[in-house]
Symmetry: C2
Subunit: 214 residues, 2 copies
């Protein structure tokens, strides 16, 4: 309880800092391997000529994801949670440190890739303006029922790996119904980071949210 | 630290209880949707005429997985972690409660499905004899590098959804190398819960481990 309250205090400070510099921030969450990094790469390709985009990359260990976005993003910070008190989620204090080293006046958008986990990141806000959860076809359509809390607080839910629809069992209507049951106002996107299907619509949403927010 | 020590004490008690009743227990872990329940269903189909098998089913919320195994297993207990102090992993105290209600003298094997999470379950032993991690093809071959701790302590690692190999990028040799780098003695299985490929070999391993352990 103490951890959560302390986190909220720092998260609120982070958001004030972002607002002061007119930076829009999105917290991207998902299970391991659902497509967070791939989505960030697609978004960078599509939007880097319109917005200055930085990435904060969270992983338990390794720098492979930060390396993938290096050179495409204006700035990249890799956070490894392995030896931190909480290794299972990014937390506001980690973001606060990351922001200190970033050229916020030259940044319009920060994409935060959270640690792959459908449970703990639901408990810790980071100072972001929008929270997005990616669910992918191979995981199955019952994730919202079994991991409800992360979906309840989402502003957008992405159904990724749509290209695999012919090869897996996934009832899109059932998935959308369970999301609507938990969170009627959430925006749902169906896309494939592999084929690019739906990426344009996702990017339009980002642009529109960034404009309204900043 | 206190939580971990308290957990270890109860885990050790659980294992003593299981040994006293000659029950062999396997802790099955994975990311959400990698195939824990599907593996348990395949294992039940293949082995229920040779062993009395019970299932302890862990999820943040919902009973859908317990319902899937009901009728196939000798006994099923569903644990929902949603309102517990730790919702992100099964813990030894939860298993201790579950075991109290189970007819241990009529059980040979307990399959424990842990909460879908590649991070927190690595920290909490439950009293099991063997720890198994399932990784699935669509998640990508770099999970061991990015979520090392759960793979370091595994006795077996399963590469699931082999049937999807033609449709996804997954370097099996690279995956096996990173596993070997973390944990040279681990047993690796390649299988598909959909086609049944490799299930027989996995079941032989269970029978052989059960015999040696009890
Ligand atoms: N078929 C298909 N594969 C995809 C798609 N998006 C991502 N992948 C693949 O899925 C695997 C995991 O994608 P990542 O983007 O690394 O997922 P992630 O959520 O960042 O994973 P972690 O950071 O390790 O938790 C990779 O092999 C990707 O190529 C998609 O739309 N379709
Ligand atoms: N193609 C294919 N799909 C599989 C395989 N094994 C499981 N699935 C599918 O993957 C989805 C998730 O499988 P589950 O067994 O429910 O996975 P889980 O790890 O128990 O999921 P949670 O308990 O929700 O974390 C389901 O739609 C399964 O049908 C496989 O070998 N091949
Ligand atoms: Mg990633
Ligand atoms: Mg399951
Ligand atoms: Zn946690
Ligand atoms: Zn945890």
């Amino acid at each position: 309880q103490n951890i959560l309250e302390a986190n909220e205090t720092i998260a609120s400070r982070n958001q004030q800092l972002l607002d002061k510099h007119k930076v829009f921030a999105i917290n991207i969450m998902s299970a391991p391997g659902a497509g967070k990094t791939s989505l960030i790469l697609q978004t960078l390709t599509r939007l880097k000529d319109r917005l200055n985009i930085a990435v904060i990359e969270g992983d338990v260990a390794s720098t492979v994801d930060a390396e993938k976005v290096q050179g495409k993003a204006k700035a990249v910070v890799q956070i490894n949670t392995r030896n931190m008190p909480e290794s299972c989620s990014l937390m506001a204090a980690m973001i606060e440190s990351a922001l200190k080293g970033m050229p916020l006046d030259d940044i319009d958008l920060i994409l935060i890739e959270n640690v792959g986990n459908l449970i703990c990141p639901a408990e810790f806000t980071l100072g972001e303006h929008k929270r997005v959860v990616i669910s992918s076809l191979p995981e199955g359509d019952d994730k919202p029922i079994k991991y409800p809390l992360i979906f309840v607080d989402a502003d957008a839910v992405i159904i990724n790996k749509m290209d695999l629809l012919p090869h897996v069992d996934f009832d899109i209507a059932a998935f959308r119904r369970s999301i609507a049951g938990l969170n009627p106002k959430v925006e749902v996107f169906q896309l494939s980071c592999k084929t690019g299907e739906g990426i344009e619509i996702w990017c339009s949403w980002i642009l529109e949210q960034a404009k309204t927010n900043v």
